[in-house]
Assembly symmetry: C4
Homo-oligomer: 247 residues x 4
Amino acid sequence: MSNARSGKTPEKIVADLVTANHILHGQNVVDGFGHVSARHPARPDRFFLSRSRAPALVEANDILVFSLDGEPLDPRHPPIYLERFIHAALYRARPDVHAIVHSHSRSVIPFGAAAGVQLTPISHMAGFLGEGVPRFEIREFAGHETDLLIRDNQLGDALARVTGDAPVVLMRGHGVTAVGRDLQQAVFRAVYTEWNAAIQAQTMLLGQPVYMTKEEASAAAAANDGQIARAWEYWAVQAEAARRALG
Amino acid sequence: MSNARSGKTPEKIVADLVTANHILHGQNVVDGFGHVSARHPARPDRFFLSRSRAPALVEANDILVFSLDGEPLDPRHPPIYLERFIHAALYRARPDVHAIVHSHSRSVIPFGAAAGVQLTPISHMAGFLGEGVPRFEIREFAGHETDLLIRDNQLGDALARVTGDAPVVLMRGHGVTAVGRDLQQAVFRAVYTEWNAAIQAQTMLLGQPVYMTKEEASAAAAANDGQIARAWEYWAVQAEAARRALG
Amino acid sequence: MSNARSGKTPEKIVADLVTANHILHGQNVVDGFGHVSARHPARPDRFFLSRSRAPALVEANDILVFSLDGEPLDPRHPPIYLERFIHAALYRARPDVHAIVHSHSRSVIPFGAAAGVQLTPISHMAGFLGEGVPRFEIREFAGHETDLLIRDNQLGDALARVTGDAPVVLMRGHGVTAVGRDLQQAVFRAVYTEWNAAIQAQTMLLGQPVYMTKEEASAAAAANDGQIARAWEYWAVQAEAARRALG
Amino acid sequence: MSNARSGKTPEKIVADLVTANHILHGQNVVDGFGHVSARHPARPDRFFLSRSRAPALVEANDILVFSLDGEPLDPRHPPIYLERFIHAALYRARPDVHAIVHSHSRSVIPFGAAAGVQLTPISHMAGFLGEGVPRFEIREFAGHETDLLIRDNQLGDALARVTGDAPVVLMRGHGVTAVGRDLQQAVFRAVYTEWNAAIQAQTMLLGQPVYMTKEEASAAAAANDGQIARAWEYWAVQAEAARRALG
């Protein structure tokens, strides 16, 4: 169910977005960098994203509203993320997408940076990867001298084209972006992309991996999509306890 | 000593089951998913299992009573785990079993998913693995299009047949299930199956592993079975401190 | 400086031994198993060792006094560690040794269990390993059917003979034992044996390791021996904070 | 912006230096060993460095002032780090350097100790490594019998010559030293050198790494240099919460 159809208020989406920031930190998907956004539930041409701040520290009053060109509505905005165009471009290209996580997920980066290796679902928790995991090579669009960042709408559009209908896109030398129908699904996908990457790498060292079939992956993804609330409740409780401990 | 013969009350078993949930989380055997059950001490045709909830958050009033067909006795039950049939089937097939842990243990999944590799006791703490570690390939029973879950009694029976008398069964692309004479033993086996998997994988990378002999494994398992209380006390203290910190 | 020459009272040694238990837990050298002992400062024919308890939970009133045959002086003792003979035998054979750590250190076990691989100093913090790291294969002394435990004085003597003058001995399929002139040195050696094992394994995967020369190892060990107090202060503060958090 | 040009007072630099010590511990760059210094903002011939103490425990009143020959100004100083000459020599040779981190960073040591392997930027967070990562082999300057420590100004000068204009220098069998225009940059480089080492090692195991081009690394380094404050705020909040928990 999309945010729009979920009937959630903007205030509830913002509260969930703060929680999502803390969860992604608690689950080691982000460190001081990385960011997560949500589409506005009533205005699909807008999205919520924090000002430039480490996810662990994001609070509700850090959240800004952006238009789909990647600019904040409020002209007196504080410093913002350089790569907000990842979010803007994917929201433009994908009406089905209502939340996006961009991260430098530790176990995933090697799958974006090792030639000839394909991130492939090997744990049923990551069945969604069976929909495809394209790899974005920025050199194909902007040459060999970029800083690897998605700094403008043109690069954002290139990333969105490579992503296509996929749930996750690898970014060579940089990180990974996961999309979802809502924050819960986008976060779930970000966490279990990291999980599958670590398990697949270990399996490749041990022997010949038995990957999931396309059909298994698809069926597992559907089954897991019905169970995300269980993980979200757990991650949220952990994340808020960790947040309190930060003082 | 089995639960039945232990003379423990149902209330004590439920309290231990809550602790087992928290321990498995604290020892990184489960995350938001995975579950642990205990057979009813007075009614071997019933077992205790939480409603659908992340193990770290399970409390005594989340515990439900199930019959051996995998259905809750109380028809007004909250949402339950899809894979309760793992527990039901193994309790049906194995009168010696009084507790079961099902998990997606990180270091174990590669041993279920790498062709031609066998999880084998290399640390004396995991001597119990010498009794055999069968691998359940769901494709052999339900084809190449399942979601890998044990969703019904038929699949549960297939898993139980593959498990046979073993203490642990690997589930390809999915996870692992450990059984025990009581909660303490089932949890111990789940923890040290993860442990052995990590150590075996590392040893395989270094050189030619010297595995335990069948006799060494059996003797070590017997010795360790007398020491489980030491680990349980420690894990329980840690787990309850972590539970308090969650608030 | 040995404990004897350190002028420490038995009470101070017991307090340090409690701290050593907590440090070894905090540094991931032990889990629910493993143990640490100290020779009595005034009576070299006696040593202190906890009753059978997980190191994280050991308190001063858990500490018992043992004679060098591995038996507690107090006949009304609580349950004790099966492997107290590791300690007894090494104190008998090594008058220079005043403290002993036995553990199932995770990164070290593979070096005891992989044929043809030698744990070798590659980080200057573990220069002490240059004195030699013998491997104890219990099969050479007791056949292929033991539980791998040092259950009596005869096996203890065999372990002590294999250890010789070394600071550390690997025990195949089981763990590792480190000795020291005092608790601080034995704990330091246990921690940095784990450290070196992890680093050596990673280096072996990357390329051809450049190990320390015998002379470098010896010089580094001497330098580090003068700096142990810095690590001990740090580990002790961490360990006691963790102990408080356990409640 | 250098410390000098930053207009920070000596008191502010000392406060930042205490925070840097705690951050490096929190980010697993240092353990009981390793140290971080800052040049005096008004007196470029002096620098601040803690007395000999584990970084996690360093407080403002542990900080001493050193001259560029590596000696404390106050003759009644407490015990000091043996390797203060790393700092002294690099401040002498590099007027651009205002902060230095020396550590035994776990994932980095293998890159200093594996022959024929080069630490190379593969994650854009570590673009600064593109400026070069020389390897210091102490044997070339002091033979095969040293304790690997930089114990005097002569060895310090050798290290500085090998370092040249690089941001980071590997020290075989020992560790790594990172320099920066200020504490924030030196700490950032230390953290992401560890990060890149772990990711590069994992990528090498998976397949053929696609490293950053020289131009990508340079551009990424420039981009990241503008974002360091975001990481510092986050690390500092975490580190101070951890410090409070130590009691």
